[in-house]
Amino acid sequence: MDPYTISVLSNVALFSFLAISAWLLMLVGCVSFGQQAYFAIGAYVGGLTTAVFQMPFALAVIFAVLGGALSAILVALSTLRLSGLHFSIASLAFAEFIRSGLNVIQYQRSVDGYLTGPDGANGFRDIRWIFDVGLSQGQYFVIILAFLLSVIVLIIGLSFGRDMMIIRCVGENARLASAQGINPLQVRLIMAGASGAIAALGGVLYAHMTTYIEPAQFSVMIGVHALAYGLIGGLGTVLGPVLGVLIDIGALETLRFLSSYRMVVFGGLVVLILIWRPRGLLDETFVARVKTCLRR
């Protein structure tokens, strides 16, 4: 594959992490505008681990995932009791707090005679792990893909037991779920932690691909995009958010001939999809139909 295709596909894969993370929360009825916060946390924690403290990449991934999950759980502990729109705005406030906080934070250390580390709004340069170990763009894409596939397989695995049913039940009707002996708050807390971890995993992979991160990359726009991907692709399966990312980035790449009007065309397309299928292309009904077909 040529470098261009690889870079497009890498972007699709990286945004899929963010989209899946927002989708997981949507399943339990929480609409988060702020998953980019955990993406940013993952990116910065991962970058600090390899570039500043010169530790191995595996540790960077572990620290990033732990950091994402822990911060997501801490935030969720205080916001999960809020209802609908309040939860969304609280998540937005947290994400903007993180973004503007990163604009102010400076922590630089001298590594091999160069200053490395987050430098406020100027960003965080030289996260050069892939160059240090000599990975090509294609090889790194395989790593991203391996992580993404394990996340997807893990989530699909949930639907073989009762877990997915419990999750969807909480999202559909929390009161009914608690009547069934499910603790909705507990389920939501676990999902918040999981979605924070997944977003952070995407973040650490993103930081090491681009080698440069800055707070402005983690704006509200990214978060709302992540939310939109799940709803365009469909809420019925974990492949929905991935399909959403594919449609968005794929359409943007193929509509290049429309040059400056492609967002107008794409936006119109999304609006029509949502009128036709308000829960996305791969919605629950569609997934259920495919499953019955497969059983025959």
Partner: protein, 293 residues
């Protein structure tokens, strides 16, 4: 102390515009129970329409305001038709994401029609100031306050003295019983959008005149500020929207003066987060928004 009071005055000036944006959000959220995140970008369409006239025909403010109003209303109705009227009634999320898609459209249309980064927006000469003792009062503060006051009084009169107002409040309180009582909900919602669009156009006009220019960031800015002001004041409360806007403006002005621009954002968002967690109903919102399952 002088600084502190001066900051409050400046905060009120900006905050009154936030109040108008929050009022528009509250009207739409009340009527539909859904979020229209394309509200800010719709106003941006209007403001740019106004700016395009403001470049050529200077002096005719009524014409500029007319263009702003027209642009905002066309954009608002486009959003209402595609993202609210056409989307199924139980699909709250679909509506919101749909307005986001339309936002992307608006951004690109404006970026295409107005390729420069900033455009001048001429208005009254609001730079002149009145000095009372140590305090500097810009004309824009007085103007903003008068306009906000007029809008709030007009809106209140409209909501509590007309059939439309009664019907809109019925739809807001309980959509089902409004339908049963013979209210034409689709028409009421349409009127609510027109009303919100008009308020948005007034807000956009005032803000653009105060800044003297408009940029492509206007849409995101207006949506964020309006949403935050609405939530601080209390979801669903018109009085809360006004108070929320003023409080947000004053806090921003104080933080900007004492801490600087970059720390201001950190403080404002931290406060917003904390206030949501501690006071989920906002300053003046109805109690019932916290559900403990």
């Amino acid at each position: 102390m002088v600084d502190f009071v001066q900051n409050i005055l400046d905060g009120i000036s900006v905050g009154s515009a936030y109040s108008l944006l929050a009022l528009g959000f509250t009207l739409i959220f009340g009527a539909m129970g859904r979020l229209n995140i394309a509200y800010g970008p719709s106003i941006m369409i209007g403001v740019f329409a106004g700016a395009s006239l403001s470049q050529d025909v200077t002096g005719s403010l009524i014409l500029v305001f007319g263009a702003t109003l027209f642009g905002t209303l066309v954009a608002t109705l486009y959003v209402e038709r595609l993202s609210f009227a056409a989307v199924k009634t139980d699909a709250v999320l679909a509506s919101m994401v749909s307005t986001f898609a339309i936002w992307m459209q608006f951004d690109e249309i404006i970026a295409h029609l107005f390729p420069l980064r900033t455009y001048a927006f001429h208005g009254w000469d609001v730079a002149t100031v009145i000095e009372i003792g140590p305090f500097v009062i810009r004309h824009s503060i007085l103007l903003n306050l008068v306009i906000v006051f007029a809008v709030v009084v007009g809106l209140r009169f409209f909501l509590y003295k007309s059939y439309f107002g009664l019907a809109l409040r019925a739809v807001t309180d309980n959509r089902q019983s409004a339908i049963v009582s013979g209210v034409n909900v689709a028409r009421i919602v349409l009127i609510a959008f027109i009303l919100a669009g008009t308020i948005g156009a007034i807000a956009g006009f005032v803000i653009a005149m105060g800044d003297g220019q408009v940029t492509l960031k206007f849409g995101l800015w207006a949506t964020l500020k309006g949403l935050i002001a609405m939530i601080i004041g209390g979801l669903g409360s018109l009085r809360g929207a006004v108070v929320g806007g003023l409080v947000l403006g004053i806090i921003e002005a104080q933080a900007q003066w004492y801490l600087g621009a970059s720390l201001r954002e950190v403080i404002v968002y931290a406060l917003l987060f904390l206030s949501l967690v501690i006071l989920p109903n906002g300053l003046l919102g109805a109690k019932q928004h916290v559900h403990r399952v």
